[in-house]
Symmetry: C2
Subunit: 341 residues, 2 copies
């Protein structure tokens, strides 16, 4: 069976207190005894129980990552970044895919508390404000990543979605496009709204007229919905010459719709995605897309979480990272016209 601290103490002929001190590098133990104890630990393949340590007031070195779906490439990347930073610092991550389902969110939140995690990183967000409130009250560290929940007093790390949309809009308008459609996720997400707002701003600055009928939100199956909506647009006679998609999944849908209608990308239709997931490199042509710095986001989220330990922060911190336009091959100047500048 598993060796305990008692086994080690007995084998080494010392008290468990001595062993504990050695484990934690505290107190004063003679070099000799210390080495002896280490040797015994090694021999018994002894691993100190984090469980037992946690019970005495220490941390569990564990936290939970609440996201919509780990099999969504964007969140998988966030997860990887969180995991890596956590691992560096000695923490383990519980993965919690919620499907944005209230019941699952509730259950996971409850489980994470029962398991005494040291904090929770939340990348899922719609109307979960109320569910988060109780855990916040227990002064459990929480940080939001890639999603915002306005009105909640929590540390947050996001990108500047407005700027991301603006980047996309500037790019497309700069290429001479006039009729540009927008495929967004749920309108409930502030990130979606911000991206559209930035996009619109850039278009209007370029003198384009804003056509609300060219903006559509999409449901659960992003690629399918995106495809359907794009098909609608492309079938009309005054079809858009470019589509801005608020994430890469939607862009894939748009790509499929275009191909189905025999439209060439980017000659006949330009498409811009968002997130720069691995999918953007798999499409043909490779997708021009707005990148989120997932690595940095995950890292920051962990760091902010850990900073909260002990001292509850007075006012929450908000880290806003810059998005970046990644030019690939799904966008081009409007046929015949040279791009501006």
């Amino acid at each position: 069976m598993k060796a305990t601290i008692y086994d080690v103490a007995r084998e080494a002929g010392v008290s468990i207190a001595a062993v504990s001190q050695v484990i934690n590098g505290k107190g004063k133990i003679s070099e000799e005894r210390r080495n002896e104890i280490f040797a015994v630990m090694e021999r018994l393949d002894y691993k100190p129980s984090v469980i037992a340590a946690a019970l005495t007031g220490k941390k569990t070195y564990t936290f939970g990552l609440l996201i919509p779906d780990i099999s969504n490439p964007f969140f998988a990347e966030i997860a990887r970044a969180v995991e890596d930073r956590g691992h560096q610092l000695g923490y383990s991550i519980f993965i919690c895919s919620t499907d944005n389902n209230d019941e699952r969110v509730e259950r996971y939140l409850s489980v994470l508390q029962q398991k005494s995690v040291d904090g929770i990183i939340v990348g899922t967000g719609m109307d979960h404000r109320d569910m988060l409130q109780p855990v916040l009250r227990k002064s459990m560290p929480v940080v939001l990543v890639a999603r915002e929940l306005p009105g909640l007093n929590v540390d947050t790390v996001v990108i500047d979605d407005y700027a991301g949309g603006y980047l996309a809009g500037g790019h497309l308008a700069g290429l001479g496009h006039k009729r540009i459609a927008v495929l967004a996720e749920s309108a409930k997400l502030v990130s979606s709204r911000e991206r559209i707002r930035g996009f619109r701003e850039a278009c209007e600055e370029a003198g384009l007229e804003w056509d609300e009928s060219l903006v559509r939100t999409n449901g659960a199956d992003l690629v399918k919905d995106g495809r359907r909506n794009a098909t609608d647009w492309l079938a009309g006679d005054n079809r858009p010459t470019a589509i801005f998609c608020c994430n890469d999944l939607l862009a894939i849908g748009a790509l499929q719709a275009a191909k189905e209608r025999g439209l060439r990308i980017p000659a006949d239709l330009s498409i811009v995605g968002f997130d720069n997931t691995i999918l953007a490199t798999a499409t043909d042509p490779p997708l021009t897309t707005v990148a989120q710095p997932t690595g940095r986001m995950g890292e920051l989220a962990v760091d902010l979480l850990l900073e909260q330990e002990g001292s509850r922060r007075e006012s929450p911190r908000r880290a806003v990272l810059a998005p970046e336009l990644v030019l690939r091959e799904s966008t081009a100047a409007l046929r015949g016209k040279a791009p501006i500048k």
Copy 2:
């Protein structure tokens, strides 16, 4: 602060033993008292500590998932399946991306033991046999998923890789292809070897000659390596007319190489992938690929793990699932020739 069982007992005017019984639905407590206690728990937002319970010999309801990389779509899907089945049964999952790096494997294995997980699902595999041995000896439940470690006495759930390769080979040969190249992962993986073996068998049965120079293994950056190797082949004068890729990432590389050379898919070159990840639907054309039933695999892995609890199994179980060829648009009959049958 967090409420404990003592708080509940005090509030309800009973002993902690009574509260404990209510929590676990054991013992005999009068209906009345029970409801009263439930009410207090609710009011205090009390969550029983899994940590403390675990210390008294109960389980932690937690297990670890060791995979190469959670941001690899295939493993993200496995993870999702494992998570879902676990969640159903009340378990939480630690995600552990190892990058197939010995040091990381070692550390994660150690951490998982310190955190007293109830079991470990291993989807990472190369030469980790020796590292697994000690944890097996401590009678920690372990099951392998999607990877095999021959010689290890462990439950395993895999697909029939040989059959998967055979499926791909039969498909391509049936389409009339004669010169078919193979892009594989590391030759150390038995899954790679098996896929190739099955593929070869199918080709030979179709009367094709096997050309070892048309088989290449690839390193860490699968899409880049795949692209490079494919480029090599496609540049030659006796270029292959089809490529079988042992996973979708490699297929993307091949797709890129083909496009770079101006080859049309599938008219000039047929490509078959493996895994049927979301990537296969994002490519253009969509990728014909051999699907692994990730949902079922994850589920089975969890179930086998849980079956191991308590009674150590005499002889390990091996679940072999059937792969399935998913026909999409990246394959076609050799130019001019009608497909056989």
